[in-house]
Amino acid sequence: MRAGVIVFPGSNCDRDCLHVLGDVLGQDAVEVWHAETSLDGLDAVILPGGFAYGDYLRAGAVAGTSPVMAAVRAFATSGGPVLGICNGFQVLLETGLLPGAMLRNRSLQFRCRPVHIRVESTRTPFTRGLREGQVLRLPIAHGEGSFYAPPALLSTIQDSEQVVFRYCDADGRVLPEANPNGSLNNIAGVCSPRGNVLGLMPHPERASEAILGSEDGRGIFESLIAFVASRHPVAVG
């Protein structure tokens, strides 16, 4: 798999994504500067965490106007897998590639700690190797992660299986106490109607090696690798 990690001014998890994809999982992973206008040759695109453009205006808003985003939109429209992590999720929401919006954490505190999330859907390229109901322990690190959608949109998202992750306790129970930021219905990750674009607030790239305390994030990247392999079968013999 050849994956591109988009680098905006202010991205700060780009290297972590490159490390996990390249060093840990042995994939071909390249940086894509936000001024690029082409994503040719890439099998997957990742928008990493950070504070793109200082989160000026709103988190992800200015990044949404970067030249590369037109190419990301075209890539997503053609069915290419796009993963937005934390700030990358916010960028995808701001560009309308994913439904909903982010509000400030209800606590007004920047929350940086491990959380549990439950896999709600395995129909995306990033969760196809996971089990529905599986609980992952991943770190969050955000100040604006309270997922919001107006009632009608929220119903649509839920009815069309676009909720991919929910905050839960260690046993997989979706409880208010397990909600770290005030997200509606504990929503931690959503996907596009077709499922090929996914955004989530927790950081799987910070939990893909045992030395970091959790390898639960690996399954998301491994699912993606398997998905790409299934799209491009390797010739045998």
């Binding site: 709103r58 701001e94 909903g100 007004l108 949109l153």
Partner: protein, 103 residues
């Protein structure tokens, strides 16, 4: 040139956690009379004379605000009256004190 002044706030009904915290602070200082507080953003943009309100609405809708969660209002299609030539104001009265609200 004119200056458009845009104020963006969260829509009514959407929890404004920052507004609540500010209200708490006001009460802590003894300003018990402070009711609901909404904290928003203020954006000032220099625009050519003659820019249409629809264009400013479009700027807000597409970029400056997030229509899912925010509302905006703006005013001031002329420079502040202190720096505006009086005759110009009389010539184009329709441009004075224009304000618009969008939810």
């Amino acid at each position: 040139m004119a200056t458009v002044r845009i104020i963006i706030t969260l829509k009514p009904g959407i929890l404004d956690a920052a507004g609540q915290a500010v209200r708490q602070g006001l009460h802590a200082l003894g300003y018990e009379q402070a009711g609901e507080v909404r904290v928003g953003r203020y954006v000032e943009i220099a625009v050519p004379d003659g820019v249409r309100p629809e264009e400013v609405h479009q700027m807000c809708e597409r970029f400056l605000a997030n229509p899912l969660i925010e509302q905006w209002r703006f005013e001031g299609f002329n420079p502040p009256s202190t720096s505006a030539p009086p005759q110009k104001k009389r010539e184009r009265p329709e441009k004075n004190a224009r304000a618009a609200v969008h939810h």
